[in-house]
């Protein structure tokens, strides 16, 4: 993790999320995806772009939002990012994971 972080030259928190989105680029996303064991396809990138646009527009990210997005359905979202699709995809997208106040 340490060496990968150094190689990426980006600031990340303890859980591996970027703390400054301006440091994000596609290579960074690719590298984080590799750490998560995900091989990125054009379909993955479409989802990542959509997530970044949502965040830019101040919209809360939720599974329900995915359902209504028209970009992909939830089953596909789980298939693309198995396990916790939102927490994994946001990490790759360089944006904060959905949080509560504590």
């Amino acid at each position: 993790m340490e060496t990968q972080e150094n190689a990426l030259k980006v600031d990340r928190n303890q859980e591996g999320y970027l703390t400054d989105f301006s440091q994000w680029n596609k290579d960074v996303g690719e590298q984080i995806a590799q750490e998560e064991g995900i091989e990125m396809t054009p379909r993955h990138w479409e989802v990542i772009n959509w997530i970044q646009e949502q965040v830019k527009a101040d919209k809360a990210l939720s599974i329900r939002g995915i359902k209504k997005s028209g970009v992909l359905d939830i089953k596909e979202f789980y298939a693309l990012f198995p396990g916790g699709p939102l927490k994994i995809s946001t990490k790759i997208a360089g944006v904060p994971k959905p949080k509560s106040c504590i």
């Binding site: 928190n13 303890q14 101040d58 919209k59 809360a60 939720s62 599974i63 329900r64 939002g65 209504k68 939830i74 089953k75 979202f77 789980y78 396990g83 916790g84 699709p85 939102l86 927490k87 994971k97 959905p98 949080k99 509560s100 106040c101 504590i102």
Partner: protein
């Protein structure tokens, strides 16, 4: 004569009516507030109602009592806002405005999840975010014999994001006091990556669930409630069984926002984070749970916002630039059971940290740490709410913007 119209007489709307009536000249500005409901609920009390800690009378009063003299209080349904025409259509009349304040709040939308508002709604599937739900749950708990209780959060954002955790903690205490804790299996289910999602909170409070023997199920994105087999099912195929489900359904803004085409897909109104002016119309302002700002949806937030918004309405009337002042400040007591509570004080940028509040060293309240004193603070808050907050009286030593005094940063 000019018209200032407030939609919603909940916490935020009532505070704005009180603050603005004393600031706007009566011969120049008519203030009207619209709300279809007669009753004003003390919503934080809904957490205590199911456990017989508060009675019905302690959480509701007649709303009219809190609307100041000189404000026109209209009890009617709101049909639609026409922001391009500066008018609002009510059920049987139309009101024109010069300035509009939207304070229509948020509410639960259990119909968003398949089966949630099904045949078992308020039978063994409950919410406690409504007066009716909290009361039905209280009646159920009074003679519940035990089993699997699941406390479940559907998705963020929700009003008072800590309430589901508080509910789980209070449930643990409640069953202990009844001498039946060994008969209850308590599970907390969240769509987030943990019960605590911020680094400092997770580090300092992570012990709470284990200490109270509460199971944790994370990353659970609910797809449906199975009323035949009493289980909740997630999109990834995970299932959690329950005998008694206490859920926080999806929270959404009021339907009037959707009908008026003014909201995002959760019916929250796009609002400037710091001025509270709506993004689309310069004479429309938004406050409290109705906004889409990334602050907590909580009464304390509405209170801090009301101070900035009052100043900004006066600046707007004078044609001056608005203050970009609101910082997302929230201040919340969190019940942890056994007559203890935490206090958190944070904003858009600063996560909750340890320390003392409101003063350095002497406190007397402790931040992000359990204490009996904090619990009394939370109970005292009900009095503050009815007697100070709604009337727009500032709370001593607690400023609208977050202070770093006493915080361990």
């Amino acid at each position: 004569m000019k018209n200032l119209l407030i939609l919603g007489a909940g916490t935020a709307g009532t505070m704005m009516a009180n603050q603005l009536r004393s600031k706007l000249k009566k011969d120049q500005w008519k203030i009207t507030i619209v709300d279809q409901y007669k009753t004003h609920y003390y919503q934080p009390g809904f957490l205590f109602l199911p456990f017989d800690i508060y009675t019905e009378d302690q959480v509701k009063k007649v709303g009219k009592k809190f609307i100041p003299k000189g404000v026109n209080y209209v009890q009617k349904k709101i049909d639609r806002i026409f922001p391009e025409e500066n008018k609002v259509k009510l059920e049987d009349e139309t009101i024109n405005y010069d300035i509009l304040i939207i304070a229509t709040g948020s509410k639960i939308a259990p119909e968003e999840v398949e089966g949630m508002k099904g045949k078992n709604w308020h039978k063994n599937v409950f919410d406690f975010y409504t007066y009716e739900g909290a009361l039905a749950l209280r009646n159920k708990l009074r003679d519940w014999q035990g089993g699997k209780m699941v406390v479940h959060l559907t998705e963020m954002p929700i009003k008072c994001p800590v309430a589901p955790l508080e509910f789980a903690f209070l449930a643990d205490s409640y069953f202990k006091e009844k001498g039946m804790r060994d008969k209850v299996e308590l599970t907390y289910v969240t769509p987030l990556s943990g019960a605590f999602t911020k680094e400092k909170s997770a580090a300092t409070l992570g012990y709470l669930l284990e200490e109270k023997n509460i199971n944790l199920e994370i990353d659970f994105a609910i797809e449906s409630v199975d009323n035949e087999n009493n289980k909740i099912i997630d999109y990834g195929g995970k299932e959690v069984e329950y005998d008694l489900l206490v859920t926080i359904p999806t929270n959404m803004g009021d339907e009037v926002i959707e009908r008026s085409g003014m909201g995002d897909d959760l019916n929250f109104v796009p609002t400037d984070h710091h001025t509270l002016q709506s993004k689309d119309h310069e004479n429309v302002f938004v406050i409290g749970d109705a906004t889409n700002v990334p602050a907590s949806k909580a009464g304390s937030v509405a209170h801090f916002q009301s101070e900035t918004l009052t100043d900004n309405i006066l600046l707007f009337i004078d044609g001056k630039p608005l203050k970009e002042e609101f910082d997302g400040h929230a201040n919340c007591f969190i019940e942890t059971g056994n007559k203890k509570a935490l206090l958190i004080d944070f904003n858009y940028k600063q996560e909750p940290v340890e320390g003392t509040f409101p003063f350095s060293v002497i406190g007397p309240l402790k931040l992000l740490k359990e204490s009996v004193f904090n619990h009394w603070g939370k109970l005292a808050f009900r009095w503050i709410y009815w007697n100070m907050l709604l009337k727009g009286i500032p709370i001593p030593f607690v400023g609208r913007n977050m202070s770093t005094k006493g915080k361990k940063l």
